[in-house]
Subunit: 212 residues, 2 copies
DNA sequence: GATAGTTTCATACAAGCGTTTGAAAAGCAA
DNA sequence: TTGCTTTTCAAACGCTTGTATGAAACTATC
């Protein structure tokens, strides 16, 4: 097997297993079995388990951020340089929600891996996380441009809460389903995005947004 | 040392360490060192590590639920059998927020332990968690009584989102502080409760609630 | 096709984990 | 005190973890 094949086989197997079962439950032996490579291959290609996780996290977090910023940019171009607050918030929570809750076809291990990474704070990831703050600041800035009359503190809280709602829906959607006896539909991702965006916009502007 | 002293020393040391560092990072040797008891004492008194965690979780979850229901009951008595939606939501998110974010004096390891338990899903806890759904259903029912004209689905989503906002604020308040360059104040717990309750009520009624 | 450099492989290692053991210590009823 | 139960203790057990080793297999260059 070529060297790069082994590398990518390890990366994608690790990503898939971590996304599905979390970091604590997945051992290197699980990963190499799923990737069908030798146990020593991980240390040979990545140096250590932590460096494997770190490489995965850096790669996927750049990809997620790029996806969000693309949506943000598209929204800004469409709105002539100043996007509507709805579009900004949708760009923030949309990619991850679609990647984690959407139909199987578009579900990505990458998105679910990132959720795991944000939940189970482990040393190799904790060090890199500060970068995400800068990324969120760009969204906060866009929101301030869209709503120049609003208090920056309210905008920060709203951004924080929007992420919270998206995050918890991914993380514990099962509880919501049970609690509502199945009435809350987790399959209609766009409706969830609209709901979260609607509540967030309403929190800022005090006006209800027409439901899509 | 009397038998019960050893038991409670183990329980409170375990709770404190788990609350501070999470389940993955705390070993039995850490716990017995903090409790100043012998390593074998945990297995003697609780049977296994998992049973120790389970006992902690059951005890603390009953206490948390009792605290919430007390607040709910007080709200219902004050409102003559039908409480205001604000009071219901405050009873839901208040106890945990105060226990995790309040001034040191009233901060409780119990509340932060429960947050850990809800984040790091581990086998001994996963089995018991279904009970929480029934607990939340009582709050959903109270909300339906307070707002009889509202769609039950909207109420379930709102309850879910209120918990999400509270939970994430506890879990990742540090990121919010960094992102807002310290402008978002995590020390004023009552203001946070008001903010979460306000957004939730507004999401249901479409009207902004006067800020306290 | 010989040689040098990569990459794979089976196997072993040290360290840490939760748990068990059997004897010593403490508590207590008669 | 005597005898019995409960509780503590130091030590060790078996197992799993991430990592290291050195030989074998492969690849590519001359």
């Amino acid at each position: 097997m070529a060297a790069d094949d082994t590398r990518t086989a390890i990366l994608s197997a690790a990503e898939r297993l971590y996304a599905a079962r979390g970091f604590a439950d997945v051992t290197m032996r699980d990963i190499v079995a799923a990737a069908d490579v030798n146990l020593a291959a991980v240390n040979y290609h990545f140096g250590s388990k932590d460096e494997l996780i770190a490489e995965l996290f850096v790669t996927r977090s750049l990809a997620t951020n790029r996806e969000r910023l693309n949506e943000l940019k598209a929204a800004e171009e469409h709105g002539g340089g100043r996007s509507h607050i709805d579009a900004i918030l949708a760009a923030l929570v949309g990619p991850t929600l679609r990647g984690c809750l959407g139909p199987d076809k578009q579900r990505s291990d990458a998105a679910r891996f990132m959720i795991r990474a944000s939940i189970e704070s482990i040393p190799p990831i904790r060090k890199i996380k500060n970068r995400e703050v800068d990324h969120l600041k760009r969204f906060a800035a866009a929101m301030r441009r869209a709503l120049p009359d609003h208090d920056a503190v309210d905008i920060d809280w709203t951004l924080h809460f929007a992420l919270a709602m998206a995050h918890q829906t991914i993380r514990d959607g099962e509880r919501l389903t049970k609690m509502s006896d199945g009435r809350c539909d987790l399959n209609d991702v766009q409706a969830i995005i609209d709901r979260i965006v609607g509540i967030s916009v309403q929190a800022l502007t005090g006006r209800a947004k027409a439901r899509a």
